[in-house]
């Protein structure tokens, strides 16, 4: 698979590989992400209007009729596109690409035009329609690494930027480069089936580099030319029995 901007020599270019053959739809990543990133629960009324805020969600598709039914799971999160459609339309640079291949969202800069959300084909950007409601008790759990977003701004999967930074800090303290597997976003760390792999695609020894060049690798909506940093490994097989 050709990697966009591969010639751009940065030490790090983060990428994620999701093996659809492994995903069992259990939702551990959803809760892992939510507890790690202070993502609010929006409540029944907002869920009814389609405002759930799972930075990563398990999309479920059904194919076929009874009895030949097939149900598929597709974990979906910000694809950290190299040519991200959301970035160019933001009038205030609240979302842009950093030199490590991350599509970053700067909460303090965002004014909430929601244009980025309109230009995201994956529908993975989330807007804070209200101030987040964490009750007194729940606030004890909030992760101090990550800010709690106020009303009126967009948010989305950050590839657990706080973990990336901590991983790099640790490596720097120990005077070494970041090793493959040092940094894991919450979803990848928790995924019980090991469907999610995260790593530095510029490191040619890394696991993601190897997986991305496998036969099953593809990206969502590749024809749109967004060059996502999230790669999927095609699931299923012919003649299963």
């Amino acid at each position: 698979m050709k990697i966009f901007n591969a010639d751009k020599q940065n030490d790090y270019k983060w990428a994620m590989v999701i093996d659809l053959d492994r995903c069992d739809g259990c939702g551990a990543c959803v809760i892992g992400c939510q507890t790690e990133n202070n993502v609010p629960t929006v409540g029944q009324d907002d869920v009814a209007t389609g405002r759930s805020m799972h930075w990563i969600r398990i999309e479920r598709y059904i194919e076929g009729e009874y009895p030949n039914v097939k149900v598929r799971f597709l974990p979906m999160m910000c694809q950290h596109c190299e040519a991200a459609p959301c970035e160019s339309v933001c009038p205030v640079y609240a979302t842009y690409h950093n030199d490590e291949g991350l599509n970053v969202q700067v909460y303090n800069r965002c004014i909430g035009t929601r244009f980025c959300g309109n230009n995201c084909p994956y529908s993975v950007r989330f807007f804070n329609w209200w101030d987040p409601s964490f009750d007194e008790a729940t606030r004890n759990q909030l992760n101090p690494d990550v800010s709690v977003r106020e009303r009126g701004i967009m948010e989305k999967c950050s590839f657990c930027m706080q973990r990336i930074r901590r991983g790099k800090d640790h490596a720097k303290d120990e005077g070494r480069p970041v090793k493959d597997g040092d940094i894991q976003p919450a979803c990848a760390q928790t995924c019980p089936t090991g469907a999610i792999t995260f790593g530095n695609i510029n490191d040619h020894e890394s696991k993601v580099h190897e997986m991305v060049h496998g036969k099953r690798a593809y990206r969502l909506f590749e024809e749109k030319g967004t060059h996502p940093s999230v790669y999927y490994l095609k699931g299923g097989a012919e003649n299963v029995f």
Partner: protein
């Protein structure tokens, strides 16, 4: 400056700034001006190893704390059950600890039955409990959710001397059938431990292994390993059962089979396999005459014989059998859709038989390493279980049923109920609520007010496991004995007290002498006993050193290398099994107006209703229906159409035992004669998040049991369905049309 040069300069400035603005300059300075990690402030947390007690699986976890607050739960990478992974419910546990609804002080019915629960001091609560114990005349029962933890062990050691004492568990249905089947094969009541990770082909007989509380994380891990961790082959998974569950969705193929008929399929597959073994001369380790005896027993289960009853063509059954012969390692796993019927145990045995034959074939082909199944020292595991509570062989629905009947007859003076909600999650036909009312004094250890707690005479707020000292033997350990230690990770969030301390102190007040002054001493003594047996713990360590060693690891388990079983199963034993090869017809709780099979199931990561008070779990879309904050009743679209039911229409499901109402959810992945309802909904008193959300399907269940094991046959109920009038909006995550468009959109 004249006008002309002013205009020129102006134009130049404007155009150059426009070009500059569109160019790369701004983009280069932006990351410095608006830093990407604005608001990101990585804090160094402190990590503690402990063990998750949200369900019975017994995962080891590590917890990140910052300033004394727990922030994030991750799996313990060294733990043999979960290998560093965690499920949704486990990760949401921090929110359970920091929950606004946590009980804040002991509550006592000062005026006896019928009066209100009032707040009392801990001293008074323990004094009252002590008095009741002293007057109980030994007629005490202890009931928990089947967790083998230190509290159960303490209760048993404190009260167990008196023959009037009873210890029982209210666990997920069907477990004892697995034990019964396991006992037949392994000489030891254990969950079967099929080596899915290393097999090429896995046949799931109604085994919702990613959903039930057997150990979803363990099964998820081995599933992933089988699928894609081995360079040699991609593990294939076929699911047989009456509903396309989340587990079935992860499999390659779902084959609908009528309820209760999976034993026939297992034996038909076994028939084909044994036949081939004889013809091809495979598995020389099995004596030929043994094989011919098996064949004799299997004769009536040929694919052609069972074709009609199982609705699977003989051709398909033969294709299912082929991998067992040709591509072993192949394994079969049985689950709720087997254990939940009256013929559960024989069917489980049939599946285990298939595994045994497959194992022998695979061993012969040197394609698999011998597994650690059974455990190197099954006796040790049994003894360990004895130390910390109820031996698994004694955990059964039959025992709970007997306890309830005895309670209703007034056989107990004091009841101790810990962390379980039988008023809510046992079949309502059991009428545990009435039985509790007949018990003069029940004390409940609980975190939250729930249906059982509300009926108690004394409520003792317990620590969440993140605040607690405890120890646990996981119910489902992968073939090895595992000891999980639980240590306080955070300071208690409420004025609760450790139940271990409370029970020891109250027993002492009640005149029951205990060698331990408190919970900590109990645990230390337990560890000391444990060390004496477990030579793998470094023996040079002092008692304190060993304690620290265990706490740092989060518990103890044998080193991770593969162990050759001391006594690999002999074929003689297999020979003896010929009696087990039968697939009796299931019995159903029928009725004239009950054309449908009721298929209750445990939804992913919500337990049997325990997780219902967490907004986070309520909002996590169900993997199959993608519904949030809502209860639902699944039925086949064809059935729905016949009954004139559309998605969201309120329908009433009726059985001989009772009825319940909820919104219909037509779903293609379910047999037309089956109505599926998730359990854990319909709380009536469990905090604002859970209360009155849905209806409790336990109302529908009768008390049919598996004859062999006494397990609740919770899938054997038959029901009728009618429209209740009205409809509600379905809170879906997936668009009802878009969910069929995945292929069209290349998703």
């Amino acid at each position: 400056m004249d006008r002309r040069s002013f205009l020129k300069l102006g134009a130049l400035t404007a155009s150059s700034s426009a070009v500059g603005a569109c160019g790369q300059t701004v983009q280069k300075v932006i990351p410095a001006l608006i830093p990407a990690d604005d608001g990101v402030n990585p804090v160094e947390g402190r990590w503690f190893a402990t063990s998750c007690m949200e369900c019975n699986a017994g995962c080891g976890v590590i917890v990140r704390t910052v300033n004394g607050r727990a922030k994030k739960i991750e799996g313990n990478p060294a733990h043999p059950v979960n290998h560093g992974k965690a499920c949704a419910m486990g990760q949401a546990a921090v929110r359970r600890a920091y929950h606004a609804d946590r009980l804040k002080a002991p509550l006592l019915r000062k005026g006896g039955k019928g009066s209100k629960l009032e707040e009392v001091t801990w001293d008074e609560a323990i004094k009252v409990l002590g008095e009741k114990i002293s007057k109980a005349d030994g007629k005490v029962f202890y009931l928990n959710d089947g967790v083998n933890d230190a509290l159960a062990g303490a209760a048993k050691s404190l009260f167990g001397e008196n023959p009037a004492f009873t210890i029982a568990s209210n666990h997920a249905p069907g477990r004892e059938s697995h034990f019964a089947a396991g006992e037949a094969y392994l000489d030891f009541p254990s969950m079967p431990f099929p080596d899915i990770a290393n097999s090429d082909f896995t046949l799931l007989f109604g085994a919702d292994v990613f959903e039930s509380d057997r150990s979803p994380v363990y099964f998820a891990r081995v599933f992933g390993d089988s699928r894609r961790s081995r360079p040699s082959a991609r593990g294939r998974f076929i699911y047989l059962g009456s509903r396309l569950s989340a587990t079935a969705a992860a499999c390659d193929k779902w084959l609908p089979v009528p309820p209760g008929k999976l034993g026939l399929v297992a034996l038909a597959v076994a028939h084909v396999v044994v036949d081939e073994v004889i013809i091809r001369g495979l598995a020389p380790s099995i004596p030929r005459n043994t094989l011919s005896r098996w064949m004799e027993a299997l004769k009536q289960y040929s694919p052609e014989h069972v074709e009609k009853e199982t609705e699977l063509s003989a051709e398909i059954i033969k294709r299912l059998a082929r991998p067992f012969i040709e591509e072993a390692p192949a394994v079969a796993v049985a689950g709720d859709d087997v254990a939940g019927y009256t013929n559960g145990t024989p069917t489980l045995k049939a599946v285990s038989f298939l595994n045994m034959v497959s194992f022998e074939i695979g061993r012969e082909k040197l394609r698999i390493k011998p597994r650690r199944d059974p455990a190197p020292d099954p006796d040790l595991k049994n003894r360990m279980l004895g130390w910390v509570g109820l031996p698994q062989s004694q955990q059964s629905f039959a025992k709970l049923k007997k306890l309830t009947e005895d309670m209703a007859a007034g056989a107990y003076n004091v009841g101790l109920i810990a962390h379980t909600n039988p008023v809510f999650d046992t079949p309502q036909a059991l009428n545990f609520k009435a039985a509790m009312a007949k018990t003069p004094f029940t004390a409940v250890f609980a975190l939250f007010m729930d249906e059982t707690t509300a009926d108690a005479d004394l409520v003792l707020p317990d620590h969440h496991w993140l605040e607690n000292w405890s120890a646990q033997i996981p119910e489902f350990a992968p073939g090895v004995p595992v000891l999980n230690l639980v240590q306080p990770v955070i300071s208690p969030f409420t004025a609760a007290r450790n139940s271990l301390d409370v029970i020891i102190e109250a027993a002492k007040k009640g005149g029951i002498a205990s060698p331990y002054a408190n919970g900590e001493q109990y645990l230390k003594a337990f560890i000391a006993k444990f060390r004496a047996e477990m030579l793998e713990i470094p023996q040079q360590l002092s008692a304190v050193g060993a304690w620290d060693f265990l706490l740092q690891r989060g518990g103890w388990w044998p080193s991770d290398e593969e162990v050759e079983p001391k006594n690999p199963p002999t074929t003689d034993r297999l020979w003896e099994l010929k009696d087990s090869l039968a697939a009796p017809a299931p019995a159903f709780a029928e009725g004239p107006n009950f054309p449908f099979h009721l298929h209750l199931y445990q939804p992913v990561s919500r337990g049997r209703g325990k997780g219902a008070n967490l907004g986070m779990l309520q909002e996590m879309p169900d993997p199959i229906t993608t519904l949030m904050w809502q209860h639902w009743i699944e039925l086949n679209p064809a059935t729905a159409e016949k009954l004139g039911i559309k998605e969201g229409d309120l329908i009433t499901v009726m059985s001989a035992a009772g009825s319940m109402t909820g919104p219909a959810f037509p779903y293609r992945g379910i047999r037309p004669d089956v109505i599926a309802i998730p359990i854990g909904f319909g709380h009536t008193n469990y905090g604002s998040v859970a209360t009155n959300r849905g209806d409790n399907p336990m109302k529908l269940l009768g008390l049919a049991v598996d004859e062999k094991s006494g397990a609740l046959a919770w899938r054997s109920q038959k029901v009728g369905v009618k429209k209740a009038g009205g409809s509600v909006a379905m809170l879906r995550d997936a668009n009802p049309k878009g969910e069929y468009m995945g292929e069209a959109f290349n998703l």
